[in-house]
Symmetry: C2
Subunit: 227 residues, 2 copies
């Protein structure tokens, strides 16, 4: 009932690609006050500007507040910490990324191929947004360690990889014995921002090398006599 001769037959629960933001009910409690909207825009603009002209962690929250013309209280009520502000700045990029993935990886082609593409695309996302991702990671320390992997973006990545792995299994392109959740985490761990940047800039590996290795690893997971 799962597959027949390697041909995909039906979709058990969770095989569709997850939708980013799904589950967010958002009671829309009240429209944002105009002054709040204004200050949000100013904060974001100021942060973008300062981050661009200096590095992200060479800019303090005080400085952002001063440049935006808002006090600390305002700043921190809206963005619980620097990482949250960086997340907000990243939101637009994430949206683009998510859209592109839905278009390319939701559609046709083998699930394995789409998974490979997805991971390669994620590597590029890492390169493109290294500074913000690093800052977000830095802010996820102490009592906030959970936010790293508990946030909606990571959940979506996780769900997407898991769904693709499951589809690939259905299509007979991947061993059926795998623990899908764990494998999804393992694959994503490979592109963990710290490790990725270390490989890229300290070990001098190219993006191609990293993704090629990942692809080889995926090819290894085909079902076969070995085992």
């Amino acid at each position: 009932m799962a597959r027949k001769g390697g041909v995909f037959v039906d979709l058990p629960q969770g095989v569709e690609l997850p939708v980013f933001g799904a589950g967010v009910v958002e009671a829309a409690p009240r429209r944002e006050r105009s002054d709040a909207a204004e200050s949000r825009r100013r904060v974001l603009d100021a942060a973008r500007g300062l981050f661009a002209e200096r590095s992200v962690d060479a800019v303090s929250m005080h400085e952002i507040g001063r440049a935006a013309g808002v006090g600390q209280g305002t700043l921190y009520r809206r963005y619980e910490h620097k990482g949250a502000l960086c997340s907000a700045l990243l939101a637009e990029e994430i949206e683009g990324f998510v859209d592109e993935v839905r278009r390319r990886a939701g559609g046709r082609g083998s699930a394995l191929g789409r998974l490979k593409w997805f991971l390669g695309r994620l590597a590029r996302f890492n390169d493109d947004n290294a500074a913000l991702l690093g800052a977000i990671r830095d802010a996820a320390g102490g009592g906030r360690r959970v936010e790293m992997y508990g946030n909606p973006f990571y959940s979506w990545l996780r769900g997407t990889v898991a769904a693709l792995v499951r589809q690939a299994m259905n299509e007979g392109a991947m061993m059926g014995e795998l623990d899908v959740e764990c494998v999804a985490d393992a694959l994503l761990a490979t592109l963990n921002i710290d490790l990725y940047l270390y490989q890229r800039h300290e070990l001098g590996m190219s993006r191609e090398r990293v993704t090629r290795s990942l692809h080889a690893l995926l090819d290894g997971l085909r079902p076969g006599p070995a085992s």
Copy 2:
């Protein structure tokens, strides 16, 4: 010249397991002054005690200094930051871990089997030293991001996994096309402390589940007709 009928024949460079601390020449510039040794001991003791009675990140460096009866300057000259102090506290555990690995994974048995054992043991190391490892990670932010993967312990982990993978390839238990360095990083990434603790405590996965999945993944990397 590499292998004959799956039997290990010779050892190309880098196949031996690396020795922890190798390459550290340590010119031994001068013996440590007695007062310095004393204050080092007091700091370590104070830190251990405070960390035990509260959580690691609920204890400030000031507090450690006060409890140990040393000033901030003293504290920070010896330990550049909190992560360094935690590393010092972890050193003993690391030594034990390294010794055990040398005994069990340096010896006989299939390389693949030893690799599996090693990764399982590392997972246990994670569980046993979660608090300190987390604190070390937290301290590796901002301009110190490199220390995370550039430190001697990680280098040793990396070298060990790489050597075992290479041996497994020689023994014919693993695909020969793999990029050994990348695969080593990928395998270790799976046990990255943040992800591991998230899986264990937020997702409720058991250590067995995580390692079993990792083992299955390794089994998938056997050489085979697939590819």
